[in-house]
């Protein structure tokens, strides 16, 4: 009997319950979709289905903040649901519901939400992932004809969903326990604090944003986007909460403007936290899209970037190989350019080309005055790598070893270099620049979290002569351009190098130090296609989240809006005015998030663009692309919400005409 009663009570709230379930399904589908796409990408990258640990690493690297935002969204939706159900909970409490019955009542409801969300979300995510899989199989048909899904996305989705729903339940449950259902339902009004107007919060928000701006172009911003992203998102939350409070408080003091806006702004005074938190989620999603996903996407287009590989072959040879080079010139008419060089290993698991200043000057025409213990670094970065940290994690005095890398170079454990290694901080970087001279050769690294590059380190002539004699590894850089018989030449070089040249310690295929421009170009194209596809999928996925949050909020607020519309009708407001007011109210959250999220994201992205030190025209291109993306996102959001507002107006109008019970 009790179960029947509970079900009947729940049935009367089925619309709100289904809204929560729908949100749960969406959130789970997002989790499944992101993990499935991560798994596909991993397969394309390494050629086998992803194992759990690397998959978690990949997904976490990109989706940590979005998952936190989804958790926050789930909590807000649950709290909104609790607010609507508070009347039922209160009556049952007053009637003396037993603890076991309360758990049965609330627990079964919540279990239903979890089961429906996880099952429905996984199914929906699976369908979405299948669609994307087919598209990706088309894009990467040169790599594979079948991309398997595997079981890892299912397992990971289950784990992440249970964390999100579990944390959501625990936090909501604790809020009800600590504050009481009345306070939770009141949404911040209980203590008379409808608005958060705090100077301390506002200043903390500004300070956090400044730190985020600084972090974006210093160490933490150059090794990844997590730290500046988290700081900026935290600061944005504080700024929106306190700034909005200030705006609404000040508006109340200006009576004329206040009463003019009150018709569509009243609920923001009434349920400030709910509206502001929802707007924040949208703003934060927009921020993540623009700041974290847009730039890598721009870096990857166009996917073919031949300017990064100006030569056919770059081979780290030895001075004794000159005779072989002459024979190549004679037989195939290849153009050969040689530079005296040495190998330099750095503590960031990199191996670079060292050369004397005079050689560099003769090659580039650039004059560099260096003392014995000074070096000049030429970073051979493509657009994607620009703005990242320099030698030895950006240290001004990098740990270096003169000679090539080998097993004996480091004593390290758990990626921490231990005392006893041969890397020393002997040289100071006097200056550096970004310039591709031989090519952007990302070393095939030993499962490293970052790429390592073949950069050029310039020494003073005297120092170069002093250290060259004792340096092991290649000592002659050879640049070969092949006008004809490409395959024959490369085959011959590879065969010769196998017998006489240094092995690349970082190459898991144990190749010699030969960088083939064409092959690198093809690999780079594949990598850029991979990067652009995954970033585009991420952008679209998060943009779907933005639209979903806004529409979900509008649906959730429908009851209040319908009531208000009825009030407008009965107070004799014209239809035109009614629609205008309702439209403003529905669009308010979207406007707040666009006004807060987009400018912050654009400025931080702009800062990152300038920090890349790209040629001027690329700066302008990036800024223009970013502006187009921001305007496009704003336009789509505005259009969708406008249509949704119109639909809500029509729905309420119809409901009002039919005399539907509120």
């Amino acid at each position: 009997m009790l179960n029947k009663f509970f079900l009947k009570i729940l049935w009367s709230r089925r619309r709100d319950y289904l809204l929560v379930v729908r949100s749960g399904i969406f959130i789970t589908s997002m989790v499944f979709f992101s993990t499935a796409v991560g798994s596909f990408m991993s397969f394309i990258d390494i050629g086998e289905p992803a194992a759990m640990t690397p998959l978690i690493g990949d997904v976490e690297k990109v989706y940590l903040l979005p998952y936190i935002l989804l958790l926050f969204l789930m909590m807000l939706i649950l709290l909104s649901y609790i607010r609507k159900r508070s009347g039922d909970y209160a009556v049952l409490s007053v009637l003396g519901i037993q603890t076991k019955h309360r758990y049965r009542f609330v627990g079964m409801e919540y279990l239903g939400i979890i089961l429906l969300s996880v099952c429905g979300g996984t199914a929906l995510g699976f369908l979405e992932a299948e669609a994307v899989r087919r598209i990706m199989e088309g894009i990467f048909k040169d790599v594979t004809d079948h991309i398997p899904l595997g079981w890892q996305p299912f397992k990971l989705t289950l784990i992440i969903s249970l964390i999100i729903f579990g944390l959501g339940f625990i936090i909501c449950d604790q809020m009800i326990c600590c504050l009481g259902v009345d306070a939770v339902a009141a949404g911040g009004r209980k203590g008379g604090k409808a608005l958060r107007k705090s100077t301390v919060l506002l200043l903390t928000g500004i300070l956090t944003e400044l730190v985020a701006f600084a972090a974006a172009v210093t160490y933490w911003g150059r090794i990844g986007s997590h730290v500046p992203q988290a700081l900026a998102a935290g600061g944005l939350f504080l700024l929106m909460l306190s700034g909005g409070g200030y705006y609404l408080s000040r508006l109340r003091e200006h009576k004329r403007a206040y009463y003019r806006k009150l018709l569509w702004l009243d609920d923001w005074y009434h349920r400030y936290y709910y509206h502001m938190n929802m707007s924040y989620i949208v703003a934060a999603f927009l921020f993540v899209i623009i700041f974290s996903f847009m730039l890598p996407f721009f870096d990857s287009i166009p996917v073919t970037q031949p300017e990064n590989y100006p030569h056919d072959l770059v081979w780290q040879a030895n001075e004794g190989d000159e005779e072989f080079l002459r024979s190549l010139q004679d037989r195939y008419g290849v153009q050969v350019e040689t530079k005296r060089s040495l190998r330099v290993a750095t503590a960031d698991f990199g191996e670079h080309t060292g050369m004397p200043a005079s050689e560099y000057e003769a090659w580039t025409g650039e004059q560099i005055a260096l003392s014995d213990k000074e070096i000049y670094v030429v970073y051979q970065r493509d657009r994607e790598d620009m703005g990242s940290i320099g030698l030895d994690f950006g240290n001004e005095r990098p740990r270096m070893y003169i000679g090539n890398s080998d097993y004996d170079l480091w004593i390290f454990e758990g990626f921490r270099i231990q005392p006893g290694n041969q890397l020393v901080r002997e040289y100071r970087i006097k200056g550096s620049k970004n310039r591709i001279l031989t090519g952007n050769f990302k070393t095939r690294s030993l499962n490293m979290v970052c790429d390592v590059f073949e950069d050029i380190i310039v020494f003073s002539d005297r120092e170069f002569e002093r250290i060259r004699a004792g340096a092991r590894g290649a000592d002659l850089m050879v640049i070969i351009d092949i006008p004809e018989q490409y395959d024959e030449v490369t085959k011959e070089v590879y065969a010769y190098a196998k017998e006489h040249s240094q092995v690349n310690f970082y190459d898991w295929r144990a190749g010699n130090l030969i960088y083939e421009g064409r092959r690198q170009g093809i690999e780079s194209r594949r990598q850029k296609l991979y990067g652009a596809s995954s970033m585009l999928i991420n952008i679209i996925t998060l943009f779907m989240c933005v639209l979903f949050v806004l529409i979900e909020k509008m649906e959730s607020d429908y009851e209040d809006i319908a009531w208000k519309y009825q009030f407008y009708c009965r107070s004799g407001m014209t239809q035109k005015k009614r629609k205008k007011n309702l439209g403003k109210e529905v669009l308010m959250a979207a406007k707040v998030s666009l006004c807060c999220g987009l400018p912050l994201a654009y400025f931080m992205a702009g800062e990152k663009i300038f920090d890349k030190h790209m040629p001027g025209e690329w700066n302008l291109i990036y800024l223009a692309w970013a502006a187009v993306l921001c305007c496009g996102a704003a336009g789509i959001i505005y259009l969708v919400m406008k249509l949704a507002a119109r639909n809500t107006c029509s729905k309420t109008e119809r409901g009002n005409r039919n005399g539907r019970k509120r």
Partner: protein
């Protein structure tokens, strides 16, 4: 000695209740709603609490019903401090010994009138058939027998309130706390409701604490506590006829 009328169901000693809010400037503001009230509620009494709006009537009733805790003083329910009655013990008392009737009825719109009345019994895990019989009997007794299968939104205000009274009476509680039960009703419906409450007190021997600002409703009570600014202004005992008591209340209300 030891008769039913001598037992104190509620002992209220120096009861205080304050609310704390923050001003726009962030300073804490304290609102003292109840300021040191002391009185007793004996078994079988019909006590009315009167006062102007905002004088603390509802706060007092909530505190008596253990829906709210005092910030000072004591409320003892059958000799036990309310602060010690928690969790399942409190839930049991609410199910079996204490019932509320609210101005806004608080009926479940999804359930029928019969199911609403049965709710406290079902929550108490009573036999469903017996519960149904009790609900039918209660509904007939309070004149809503023909409405048993209707939903609350199909009822008039008076019918809703009588449904709420039936629900309150279903578990046969000792104490009924009614918060302006006639506040949303027209005069005819109000009379039906107050007569029903009077019947519950006189014929069924239940203790009732009723909050009202209507002197006509209050005249049905045995004792009136007049509140002003969170303090007891006066206590009126009914010694004679209802009409006489009504006039007495009216005279006192001028002082409020």
């Amino acid at each position: 000695m030891g008769g039913k009328g001598d037992e104190n169901i509620l002992d209220i000693e120096e009861l205080e209740r304050s609310y704390y809010t923050d001003s726009a400037d962030g300073e804490q503001i304290t609102y003292s709603v109840l300021k040191g009230l002391s009185f007793q509620v004996k078994a079988g009494e019909f006590i009315g609490i009167m006062g102007t709006s905002g004088c603390g009537k509802t706060t007092l009733l909530k505190t008596l019903g253990m829906l709210d805790l005092p910030t000072g003083g004591n409320v003892r329910y059958k000799g036990v401090p309310a602060s010690r009655i928690l969790g399942d013990r409190l839930a049991r008392i609410r199910r079996t010994e204490l019932a509320f009737v609210f101005q806004d009825f608080y009926l479940m719109d999804s359930l029928t009138v019969k199911e609403n009345i049965m709710m406290p019994l079902i929550l108490n895990e009573d036999n469903p058939e017996k519960s149904e019989q009790t609900a039918v009997r209660m509904a007939k007794q309070f004149g809503i027998g023909p409405l048993l299968n209707k939903k609350p939104y199909e009822l008039s205000g008076g019918e809703k309130q009588r449904t709420a009274i039936c629900r309150a009476m279903a578990a046969d509680p000792e104490l009924i706390l009614a918060d302006e039960p006639t506040g949303n009703l027209d005069s005819n419906s109000s009379m039906l409701v107050i007569k029903a409450l009077s019947h519950i007190n006189k014929k069924m021997g239940k203790t009732i604490v009723l909050v009202t600002h209507d002197p006509k409703v209050a005249s049905y009570c045995d004792k009136i506590i007049l509140l002003k600014d969170g303090m007891i202004l006066n206590t009126l005992e009914r010694n004679g006829e209802k009409k006489e008591f009504y006039q007495k209340i009216l005279r006192q209300m001028v002082k409020l």
